[in-house]
């Protein structure tokens, strides 16, 4: 510590004399003396190797921007990337509200002092519940994949069984997270992840294969709607019925922006529903915008297995007034340590507030228009792309906002095509050629409300040029 150092703007007691005043008050000679609990040979011997400090705002800003401007972003380029993070429109009001320092605060927040925050949380769950047609929605966990992990473990605890059935065409990113949550085979409480075939004609789950794999040991069937490769699962109710008949829970992963046009999972027999919160008003942020919700029917057998924060509305001491608090707090890891339901901690709760604002802005008609716009433009893109020589759309008529584009007949690799597109200001779809899907040189394209018909034509025009 140097006495001559200028007081740092983020440390009040760095002002000259402030530290000394406290030392004088407690009767200590130096700060070092206060570290008396630490044995001398515990103190580090290697000095910190830090770059020079940038204590002035002006220098710090210059450093940040000079680095960040080396990035190429999806606003300056035309991007068709999705697969877990999707480019959707974020209303300005959402940015304003989540940027409020009371919400984007350094504090974890207390129930007594942060009533408005509590209400915004409840409104997230309430509005999402209205989209899902389900009565219980937990505050979001770290991501959709993590939500799946917790949901499958809930099903394991509920059924006492140790197997989960998932689609053979699962997102490798989410699947990797799920396998982590299901533990290695050497562990006693391991959950076996079993792949169910899909129909090669439409990407949907093969119900015959599903039936053959359902049985006494199956805790849950997990499917997505729309699925990883964009396909809409039209036999959702039948899958749920089969699962129930076999004593298994039905877990459905859904994209909330599809729910203005696609049936609510609460209406076709889903027991537990998961999904991403990023589409609900959160910027992609290089993947830093992800969060995952878990929802279910309002039955104690589900409610008592949630791992995180369940916000309930409740009366206050004042007649007629309502407030909010945590339901079943003792079952989480704060209340019960290793005996709690999995674990919880800081999560992605700011995105619950983003989602609350977003859903309140859209309302029922907004979601309907949004879903219609997305599916229309995505199908249009698929149709125009299918007319490009050498390009095939793998499942042309069964998708929502994502679809698989196959390049086998062009004689080019996706990597090669994407390099050429990138040089022309377009980020092509995610290269899925090295994933175990049997789909050859294929890319997963994502089209949302941010892509106009003109953008789609620009993509097609550029692809034709690139493939010439």
């Amino acid at each position: 510590m140097t006495e001559e150092m200028r007081a740092h703007p983020w440390m009040a007691n760095a002002a000259p004399g402030a530290l000394q005043a406290m030392l004088d008050e407690i009767g200590a000679d130096s700060a070092r003396e206060l570290f008396e609990q630490i044995p001398e040979d515990h103190f580090r011997t290697t000095p910190l190797n830090f770059p020079p400090a940038l204590s002035s705002e002006i220098e710090l800003k210059r450093d940040l921007l000079s680095k960040l401007k080396k990035n190429e972003d999806c606003e300056a380029n035309l991007s068709f990337l999705g697969a877990g993070v999707w480019q959707h429109h974020v209303p300005a009001i959402v940015d304003e509200i989540v940027g409020r320092t009371e919400f984007a605060t350094n504090v974890w927040g207390s129930y007594q002092s942060d009533h408005g925050r509590n209400q915004a949380w409840f409104e997230f769950s309430s509005q999402l519940g209205a989209l899902l047609n389900l009565d219980v929605v937990q505050l979001p966990v770290y991501s959709w994949g993590c939500a799946n992990g917790h949901a499958v473990r809930m099903a394991q605890r509920i059924t006492g069984r140790n197997k989960v059935l998932v689609s053979q065409l699962s997102d490798p990113e989410r699947l990797s997270v799920l396998r982590t949550y299901c533990q290695p085979t050497a562990m006693e409480s391991h959950i076996e992840v079993v792949m169910v075939d899909v129909h090669s004609t439409n990407g949907r789950m093969d119900l015959d294969d599903l039936k053959s794999k359902l049985g006494d040991g199956v805790a849950a069937v997990y499917f997505e709607n729309p699925a990883y490769l964009g396909t809409i699962e039209s036999e959702a109710a039948e899958i749920a019925r089969l699962a129930r008949a076999a004593g298994a829970e039905t877990i459905v992963g859904i994209d909330p922006v599809s729910l203005g046009v696609i049936t609510a999972p609460g209406d076709y027999g889903a027991d537990i529903v998961t999904g991403p919160v990023q589409p609900l008003g959160v910027h992609m942020q290089c993947g830093g915008g992800v969060g995952g919700f878990i929802a279910s029917r309002d039955e104690a057998k589900y409610v008592l297995e949630y791992n995180g924060f369940l916000v309930s509305i409740a009366e206050t001491l004042k007649e007629g007034e309502m407030g909010f608090g945590l339901a079943c707090p003792h079952q989480n890891s704060y209340g019960s340590r290793e005996d709690g339901k999995d674990w919880t901690g800081n999560s992605t709760y700011l995105w619950a507030i983003a989602g609350a604002v977003y859903m309140s802005l859209l309302g029922p008609e907004g979601f309907r228009e949004l879903g219609t716009l997305i599916v229309s433009r995505a199908r249009y893109a698929a149709k125009l792309l299918s007319e490009v020589p050498g390009i095939k759309i793998v499942w042309p008529d069964t998708t929502f906002k994502e679809f698989v584009v196959n390049f086998d007949d062009t004689g080019r690799t996706v990597a090669d095509v994407n390099d050429a597109l990138r040089a022309r200001g377009i980020f092509g779809g995610k290269d899925i050629s090295d994933e175990e899907n049997g789909l050859g040189q294929s890319a997963l394209y994502c089209v949302t409300e941010v892509h106009t018909a003109a953008d789609i034509r620009a993509l097609v025009h550029t692809l034709k040029e690139v493939l010439k």
């Binding site: 219980v136 959702a236 700011l350 802005l361 219609t372």
Partner: protein, 519 residues
């Protein structure tokens, strides 16, 4: 005389958004698909079995009504705009310079699957910050995939599983040993990962005995997970021996650096012998907690453990930065993608602004301020420090007890916390479970708050202690100056009454019947 804030929270009687609006009102319009689109694909696009037939029961309000409603909610949120000495969470100033940088499209509108050539700026920042954390800890590699401190603890358990599996010993190394007062995330994540948890009890001196550790570790121990100092403000001086004992049994040693603020720049996890550690960027490193994330648990380890890390790693390759996904021994992902990138950028900004000297000074200030606070709290009747027999300066936070005051007045630490909110002071952190002192509270001063702030905070504590003696009912029925009165807790454990959504509330409260009856 200390200034006691006269405070009243904004009180808007704000309806739940589900009650607001009118049929047909709109807050956001979307264009219709272009004619060329509709002509090409038609309008019959969703499989008929899956077409949504009901209208989602969402509010219908204008853009301004949404803005005003949520601004009202923000105004009814204290959000640390008073004074928060919330122990274990290390309150910091969150730089708006850094916040605004991350709102730019160069961060906000990035996709993690973009070609790395288009992500060089953000990769450079992550790599540079990784190097700063390596310097602070002595570790060889950091990753940022974990979405919080607990998720970093979980990462440790996943890495440990892969490490033991690689040696064919996962069936044998089945236990995790920790202290009974470690943060709940350590035992909880270890249990969720499939390990058996062994908790070591605390001794008179505030930490578990070396003998207890020796008795607990064996060839069954996969890893130990420890924080130091603990939440009492007590540093375990035998930690090097602990690590030695655990390593002699073959166990991996994980340092949960949740309480890093008092020792940052002073200790190196690697020099103490640890194999891995984690830092919370939303605590020590100045990124927002935002009421519970998005957060980052930065997980660092030695080269020996690095092959088992979740993918991808961000590595320097000549003048470029690349994402290394080709790691056959990896434990798998703990979360999608590579972490909460904006929070990493903010933590980088914090570390660059503070610099090495600033970090050293901050740890000095946080320890001095805590001991100053201890001295002042000791002057208030009815308060008792934890481990009173320990006559040593505490670290950056101290566990206190209201036990004597509660015995005298009936006012509990929960009542006390409720009343603090009436003064515009964020209620304090009490304690993780299990409570090892009666009616606990745990303040932490850190380097942000001024001596005047600390004096005000202590003044409020003294005032409420006095109120507890003169007018306990006032404290027990608090808050009185908040947006709403005290919430009744009877519904939270009652399946017939809890309501986690408005739908459930309408169903259970009879609102539906009333509406039908009126119609």
């Amino acid at each position: 005389m200390t200034r006691i804030p006269e405070f009243h929270a904004a009180k808007w009687n704000e309806p739940v958004v589900m009650e607001m609006g009118r049929p047909g009102a709109r807050g956001q319009l979307f264009p219709a698909p272009e004619d060329e689109v509709t002509k090409a694909v038609g309008t019959d696009l969703i499989p008929h079995a899956m077409v949504r037939k009901d209208r989602a029961e969402l509010p219908e309000i204008t853009e301004f009504e949404a803005q005003r409603h949520y601004l009202h909610l923000s105004q009814m949120t204290l959000g640390m705009m008073g004074i928060s000495l919330f122990g274990t969470c290390t309150m910091k100033y969150n730089s708006k310079t850094a916040e605004y940088a991350t709102l730019r499209p160069e961060v906000a509108e990035l996709h993690p699957y973009q070609h790395p050539d288009t992500l060089q700026g953000v990769l450079e920042i992550i790599h540079d910050f990784d190097c700063m954390l390596r310097s602070l800890s002595g570790m060889d590699q950091f990753i940022f995939q974990a979405g919080g401190g607990a998720d970093a603890a979980y990462t440790m358990t996943a890495v440990a599983r892969a490490y033991w599996q690689d040696r064919g010993m996962l069936g044998q190394r089945t236990e995790m040993v920790t202290s009974a007062q470690s943060h709940p995330c350590n035992p909880a994540t270890a249990a969720a990962a499939g390990f058996k948890v062994v908790n070591l009890p605390l001794e008179e001196n505030g930490y578990p005995s070396l003998e207890a550790l020796k008795a607990a570790v064996s060839d069954k121990t996969a890893l130990i997970m420890l924080n130091n100092p603990d939440d009492m403000g007590i540093y375990n001086p035998e930690i090097k021996e602990w690590v030695k004992v655990a390593k002699e049994a073959g166990a991996l040693c994980f340092y949960d650096h949740a309480n890093f603020n008092g020792v940052m720049g002073k200790l190196s996890a690697r020099e103490l012998g640890f194999d891995a550690c984690m830092f919370m960027l939303h605590k020590t490193f100045g990124a927002p907690k935002a009421g519970g994330g998005p957060a980052v648990g930065a997980y660092g380890c030695t080269d020996e453990l690095a092959p088992y890390l979740p993918c991808p790693l961000i590595v320097q390759d000549g003048a470029r930065y690349v994402l290394d996904e080709d790691r056959p021994k990896s434990c798998g992902k703990v979360r999608e993608f590579w972490g909460n990138v904006p929070q990493v950028v903010k933590a980088y900004a914090w570390a660059r602004s503070m610099g090495a000297e600033g970090i050293q000074l901050a740890s000095d200030i946080s320890v001095v301020a805590n001991n100053y606070m201890d001295k002042k709290l000791a002057e208030i009747p009815g308060l008792e420090i934890s481990n009173p027999s320990i006559d040593l300066w505490r670290m950056e936070m101290t566990r206190w007890s209201l036990g004597p005051l509660t015995e005298a007045t009936g006012v509990t630490t929960v009542d006390f916390a409720n009343r603090m909110a009436d003064y515009g002071i964020d209620p304090y952190w009490m304690s993780h479970e299990p409570w090892i002192v009666a009616e606990p509270f745990t303040p932490e001063a850190g380097e942000l708050w001024s001596k005047e702030d600390i004096d005000t905070w202590i003044g409020v504590i003294a005032q409420i202690a006095e109120e507890a003696r003169t007018n306990p009912e006032l404290v027990k029925t608090a808050p009185h100056n908040q947006a709403i009165a005290q919430v009744k807790g009877d519904v939270f454990e009652d399946p017939a009454k809890w309501a986690m959504t408005w739908r459930a509330h309408v169903r259970k409260s009879g609102l539906q019947d009333k509406a039908n009856g009126a119609a």
